[in-house]
Symmetry: C2
Subunit: 303 residues, 2 copies
């Protein structure tokens, strides 16, 4: 198994960190394909950071960055979502506000053009104890319709005209605003050829998505089942609360995923701007941006 | 808010601990209604423990106890599941094997007569990294149909002939076998009048359900959204792994749920037979059984 690659650093506030999935893409990719990924990541960083410029907070930045990745069509989320074993498209997404603890998620949804906007709309229904957090299946679809959310073109699968470079490319964004508030957002089309109804870690709070101002914001990607039974994002959260350095917390949690038989990667960010990227695949599309600039890397730095 | 009631003790191996939900039931219940609850709990303890007698392990005991609670029709799970705002019934369930780390879950499912058996069938599809863990909505239903699982009577809601004493009565069971292996199982009909598609903490591993031989088996009940954003079961898990006493771990996790605006209760069990019940509602239907006998309590001991 490939060793874990770790990258970390300090960003000035506000900042946004994104990923476009961990996997084996890039190993034999043409430079043009890597350029498409790079452009998609840069566009998402720009869209997310633009929210700060407009006075928005971490939640708006994370959701907007994910929405950009979804609409690009080059990642496995939103417009680029891969098909199930029956050729249908089912999407999952979650968002969490580290300040209020509010969260929203959808799974096995077919309606929304932007699953992360649908998750945000669920979050808007209420707080932790006042409204639903997770809507699944037809109930999620009807909620989206009633909320007037834009509908996915029912005929659209991964377009023939767009190279889906990142076949395992769940997307995610984490952000910290000037006040030190954190947010996390994750969106996915699931696994290519998955059983209809299968839901991975992305919409599961504490597995693929988590944000708490007191600890960390996390978005994961990879073999979702292993991230679920590893309790991945919660594990990062409690390690930070126990005083572990960010890199150790994320690396150790990824080791637990590996012990559970899976692999993948994650991004994590604290309220003081410390961030970490960890993955044990050949590639992980990722990037970060603050007022001082932007960095984007589609594959392993050591390859 | 009601203070947290804590009960704990030591059971000999093998043992099973169950709950039939936390809530306000029992406050004005007739003795006959409490007798119905008591009988339902005793029957489930008997069914679960019988698995040990037949040579079964913790997983069989936990699933069988929950299946008994589901089929009784007097709890909010399986046959007794409450209706959504549209009069439909959607069920959620999860099971986790503390020995292998394997897990299975369904949510927003309408097909299965026994949601916990459906979750067990999903678990049988594969391990953490080999197959799906969570199936949602129509995909879950079609999986159940293809697996030849018994179908819920589509016309059946909470029967008029059966008093659903426990309106918030998610059910759950945790078990430890002679080898010290743990398992957890939880099943629910959701909230009465909930938005179709709404999924609470029961099928979310790390929120309402968790089992790991190295730490603890947990099944929760209550205001599911708060248990999700509290990361309830994971929080118990890591507290145990950090060396906290079981009562402290469960009580502290429930305090986090309360801080998130919710309430409810949980049962927890370690591989040496230490168990704990915690709840902050008027009542929590609960019971435990080992070779030395059975205890069942439908409401608070101090009322």
């Amino acid at each position: 198994m490939t060793e874990i690659a770790l990258e970390s650093g300090a960003l000035s506030l506000p900042a946004v960190v994104i990923h476009g999935g961990a996997g084996e893409f890039g190993r034999s990719s043409a430079p043009a394909e890597l350029a498409i990924l790079t452009d998609g990541l840069l566009a998402a960083l720009a869209a997310g950071f633009e929210m700060f410029v407009g006075g928005g907070g971490a939640l708006e930045a994370a959701v907007t960055a994910v929405a950009s990745l979804e609409s690009s069509g080059i990642f496995n989320a939103g417009r680029g979502a891969v098909a199930t074993s029956e050729g249908t498209v089912e999407t999952d997404a979650a968002v969490m506000d580290g300040n209020s603890g509010a969260a929203g998620a959808i799974c096995a949804a077919t309606w929304p053009q932007s699953p992360i906007r649908a998750a945000q709309a669920v979050m808007a229904l209420g707080g932790p104890s006042n409204g639903p957090i997770l809507l699944a299946g037809p109930g999620a679809d009807r909620f989206c319709e009633a909320a007037d959310l834009a509908r996915r073109d029912p005929a659209s699968l991964t377009g023939e005209g767009v190279a889906p470079v990142s076949r395992t490319g769940t997307v995610g964004a984490i952000a910290v605003d000037l006040e030190g508030h954190l947010a996390a957002a994750t969106s996915t089309g699931g696994r290519l050829g998955q059983l209809p109804g299968r839901v991975g870690d992305s919409p599961i709070l504490g597995a693929g998505t988590w944000a708490d101002d007191r600890t960390v914001a996390v978005s994961a990607t990879g073999e979702g089942e292993s991230f679920i039974v590893a309790g991945f994002a919660h594990r990062v959260d409690w390690a930070i609360s126990a005083g572990e350095p960010l890199e150790v917390a994320v690396g150790t949690a990824l080791e637990v995923v590996r012990a559970r038989g899976g692999n993948g990667g994650a991004i994590a960010l604290t309220k003081n701007g410390q961030f970490c990227v960890a993955f044990d695949t050949y590639a992980m599309a990722r990037g970060w941006r603050d007022a001082t600039g932007a960095t984007v890397r589609p594959i392993r730095a050591d390859r």
